[in-house]
Amino acid sequence: MLMISPRMATGAQEKQYPPSLLNFFVYNPKFGPKEGEEEKKILFYHPNEVEKNEKIRNVGLCEAIIQFTRTFCPTKPAKSLHTQKNRQFFCEPEENFWMVMVVRNPMIEKNNKDGKPVVEYQEEEILDSVYSSVLQQCYNMYKLFNGTFARTMEAGGVDLLKQRLEKFFYRYLQTLHLQSCDLLDIFSGISFFPLDKMTYLKIQSFVNRMEESLNLVKYTAFLYNDQLIWSGLEQDDMRILYKYLTTSLFPRHSEPELAGRDSPMRLEMAGNLLHYGRFLTGPSNLKDPEAKFRFPKIFVNTENTDEELHLIVYKAMSAAVCFMINTSVELTREFCEQLDSLVGPQLTLLASDICEQYSINRRISGPEKEPQFKFIYFNHMNLAEKSTIHMRKTASVSLTSIHPELMKILGDINSDFSRVDDDEEIIVKAMTDYWIVGKKSDQRELYVILNQKNANLIEVNEEVKKLCATQFNNIFFLD
């Protein structure tokens, strides 16, 4: 399929406003079914300053829309509502619990002929799939740290639930950067660290030994350079934990690291081994007599066993390990000291091993293996994600090296792909010499952006073949 995208609007005197969050609320229609009790339905509302009646009105509207669309398809009520000024996204993560996010459409402020500013809403510029995924992620992140709504209801009723929602979303919503959400939010994938077999086996061996020595540990995850190497957690739990680690926890700790303040060489008494290990969660300094041995709690396997775990994140150089321990166990200073003295030296050693091996591999593979293409790859099977378009993620924004218009085309192609099961290929000619190729083979998706002067369809096709042959020669990818 070949499509020609419209030229991008550019103008000198224009002021652009990116999409932003207008409202975010959670409600349960069963909590206030009678008239006059509507307020009881609302479990959380952002912004809180909104007048009560307006809250009730907005919730009521959503309820009505969902109810209305149910008549057409009882199993799949509306997911989003498009209006000129904003777009609303609905999600029912647990039975009768609804989450709604209202996003204001991006705007352009222009001066009309009279010189007066006129606002023009760009209702088609944002993608349903992206923001629906963002909404789903909000829930997943909440669930990771608080467990399911139902579980909280059992534990402490509506009051506790409201309290938790308030506490969590108050902070979390501030970290939502709606203007920089894109295709990667749809995938919500995991970047895996490329590694040779031997080093990988060493890591396996390390993980197994640590789990044996610290016999409290239920699950372990191992990351290097913010990329995953091993997960003892199931895929879906790892997906959201990975998101938390890479977009929140690691960036928060990377700044002091870069500044070189927080990583002095520590001389450990145990075996006199020099190591760089430190806790990213829990106590920042073990020697501190006032140190608290409290770790964040996370909830995993909520579908079946519903486990509540302490999350210990321990890092040495670029290697990070997450140890997850059942919350029925109380973590003591002794345990943390044991962990530090055991894991610290070994992890330091392993981290330098990985680093060395990685640079050897890079040297061997040479510069020709370095991608000269801009591409995004995603595999639904293992959630593996690779992007040469996105810069390193920071706590605040994820930076892309391409124009948002191109990003949007990628999203559009993805929406096309998600409509059918068959393998597909879409080639789009975008503005000024840009070509975008989307390929879908089985569970894999690949998006390539090419910028070649006067390239034709055949040449573009050849280029993509070349890319597949160098970057993806070890997987089954239909041409």
Partner: protein, 655 residues
Amino acid sequence: MSEEHYLELCGNPVQFENASSVNNVFFDEANKQVFAVRSGGATGVVVKGPDDKSTVAFRMDDKGEVKCIKFSFGNKILAVQRTSKSVEFINFIPDLLHLEYSQECKTKNASILGFCWTNWNEIVFITDQGIEFYQVLPDKRSLKLQKSQSINVNWYMYCPVTSVILLSTTVLGNVLQPFFFRSGTMSKISKFEIELPGVSKPAKLSLSERDIAMATIYGQLYVMYLKHHSRTVNNPGAEVVLYHLPREGTCKKMHVLKLNTTGKFALNVVDNLVVVHHQSSQTSMIFDIKLRDTDSTLSVHQPVVPARSIHPYKIPLTGPAAVTTATPVPCELYSSTWSVFQPDIIISASEGYLWYLQVKLQPVVNLMKDKGKLMDFLLQRRDCKMVIVSVCFQMLNGPDKSNLSVIATVFDKLNQVYKEYLEAEQSYTMAVETGQSRGNPAQKRPVRTQAVIDQSDMYTHVLSVFTEKKDVSHKFITAVLMEYIRSLNQFQITVQHYLYELVLKTLVHHNLFYMLHQFLQYHVLSDSKPLACLLLSLESTYPPAHQLSLDMLKRLSTANDEIVEVLLSKQQVLGARRFIRGVGGHDNISARKFLDAAKQTREEMLFYTIFRFFEQRNQRLRGSPHFTPGEHCEEHVAYFKQVFGEQALMKPTAS
């Protein structure tokens, strides 16, 4: 209490008539023969060898008391010494005269201390004034002096395995002069001095032959010196000092074995272990010079395990001497009548028994707690395989289960030996291949010792049994399997696919699919067709296995047919066609298979496309779009006509 006697006497001793006033008993270390000489030989000489068949009996005239009696190799010539001046010879070669002939020592006034056969017809006389090397000419019934050397000799010692004779010289007796004999030549090896604990004054002979023994340990000749210390605060006891005696170069003091006690000792060497018997405590201890505690050139060793007595022994009923005895009689161990010979022989002349000393490995296992050290020990032993295997199995099971780092150490030790063997085997194969073309002499094929525990041994005896166990956690099973695979990889040994299958089955059995997925993602489980097929079979329980399997088949690059089959079975007919065309195999594929699959999709246009594709192929290959009868596509042609009409068939183009 578990069995702890790690030494035992062999069950089938050599029996001979016990020593008495009328029966003298001699032992020849070279041929391991016991001579029972009755009445100076007049009433018979019975020679018992290591096995029953080698018994020889004969008579000889009583010409005085026999001092020494020995056969040459192969029982060809008998030498008998009765006086200190001469040795008598009797031919045992058929067709040669059986009459005695005699040879006096050449050196005047010298007295013969003894003699040693170094070949079937070569003999060395050792006198108090030197050594004389003769060739015996049995047909002429005479001897010819080959070489001699003058030197004052206190006593001598012979190691038949290496053909080395050691002479004790000087007043103190502690300067030892070795000679080496080989096919008619006698060569002197540089002499060396044994360090004595203290010098007695006035100077007198201070080194007794009782305190010296020679034996080969790990293929090297060692002179073992039993050094008695007067017990002081600093000296906790006696020690055995091992001097390495190389064929060339100088003798070096290499190892010190700490006995930590004093008293009367005797030495044996069994399975490259030095066994030190201590008479007063009636125990023995074992030392392994390969188990190093320190890295210095001189290694000091402690006993491998605590000292224990030899396993209680009962004189067996069988054999001619024991017929009348009703019950087996317990044998007195460490008896003062015992004589100990190298390397592993214990003789009780008074009872008429010769035993070989044996080491039992299982009791050592019970006594040694450090599994890494135990493996080092076991890997050097001759019959170690089943013991090692059972240690591995116990290490993974039951209450004495080891932790993973110990398991890793053990696996690494096993694979180190395994790898060395594989490398030797490989270089041998290479040498044979290149040697044949260049005409080089053939290299010796490496011997596979029992210490080589390969993957199939581990799989059969340890891993497959262990993974079947119900009471072991799957986490531990997986960890152990991964540890073994890691170790194999570390030594660059190609992992056999059955190990991967074991991992896969274990993970699948416990529904650990995501774990499996990650292993495959990092190619920890190497690609193979069997593994790919196994994955395919998992698809119904774990859908991603389909993708994993296809990826694997793709990487194998020899499995294109399988890929087509998989795609067709998924009704991805176009995908299959694109794939096979991409790899250039579309001229050889079966049209029928594709058409079958296309028909099953019930998509008429798809069927049309595929049908047309093959018509075009036929045209290109054979000049006609028609299918040949061999392709069995009649049914599909009929279907095509039925759906699209006869006129839709491709017309042959005249070209």
